[in-house]
Point group: C2
Chain length 140, copies 2
Amino acid sequence: MIRAAGVKVTRQRVRVLDALLAARQPLCHGELDAQLGGDGDDNGAAIDRVTLYRILDSLVGCGLALKAVDPRGVFRFSAAGAQRQHAGHVHFRCTDCGGVFCLAAEPPPPPKLPRGFQLGEVEFDVRGTCAQCTRAGVAP
Amino acid sequence: MIRAAGVKVTRQRVRVLDALLAARQPLCHGELDAQLGGDGDDNGAAIDRVTLYRILDSLVGCGLALKAVDPRGVFRFSAAGAQRQHAGHVHFRCTDCGGVFCLAAEPPPPPKLPRGFQLGEVEFDVRGTCAQCTRAGVAP
DNA sequence: CCGTAAATGCAACAGTGTTGCGTTTGCGGA
DNA sequence: TCCGCAAACGCAACACTGTTGCATTTACGG
């Protein structure tokens, strides 16, 4: 599993990758730290902050995880498989509460690129106010 | 000018807003700090870091500036007018060098939103490899 | 079973962003 | 023009995120 990616398989890496795979959203470093420290089943010891960064970096390096930046300016990591579910469809980002919603709509075809540019992936982000914040913003 | 936004007009605010208006790209805090300190014409004194943050926050609060996060996880600020030029068209982001290019293509129409959602703005980001990095990546 | 290189943990550091507080300054009013 | 107040400014210190260096432990191959 992890070995196939060409790195050593250790208990910590398995734990981190498990946490990433179990998460439905990309996790920031703090959430991962809390989650791994709060398990308390086999070993309650929290993973060192530095080790966590290094594990995440290596996972990103071997393609098992993806790194992104959230609106607060902190890095969030997600398992590569989970990201693939989100690639290729449209997201709605609420500018009020910061929540992200997945829309059912198909993404439009990519536009023509200048000569020499290679297409990677397409992200169609729609920003606005979600239903809940719209309702909360009108009443008061 | 600034006064119309409902805040006091001070020399520092004018300087910051000038720098933002003169910049073609969103500036991070460090660049603003360096630019305002390196002017050296009327007063070479650099603006205090904290004051700069507060000025930027107030400019954002009164709608004169916009705040964003760059891939490195630092905040970038831009004048509201400059942002409007970029709204509503397509950007190409090179995953290799991190550069951003503006494409001439029209953005596609926004998709249907669930009930209660209010449309704000639409961002169509295309990621891939730019011409320069493609060339550099093939040869070596 | 042993050796090596990678992985881990600890400590310390750098950069970014924030908070508290005293002083200065813009701006309205006397 | 002068005064007073609230906002803005500057300084110091702090919190958080992310990084680097080095000694120790551990996975994995011989």
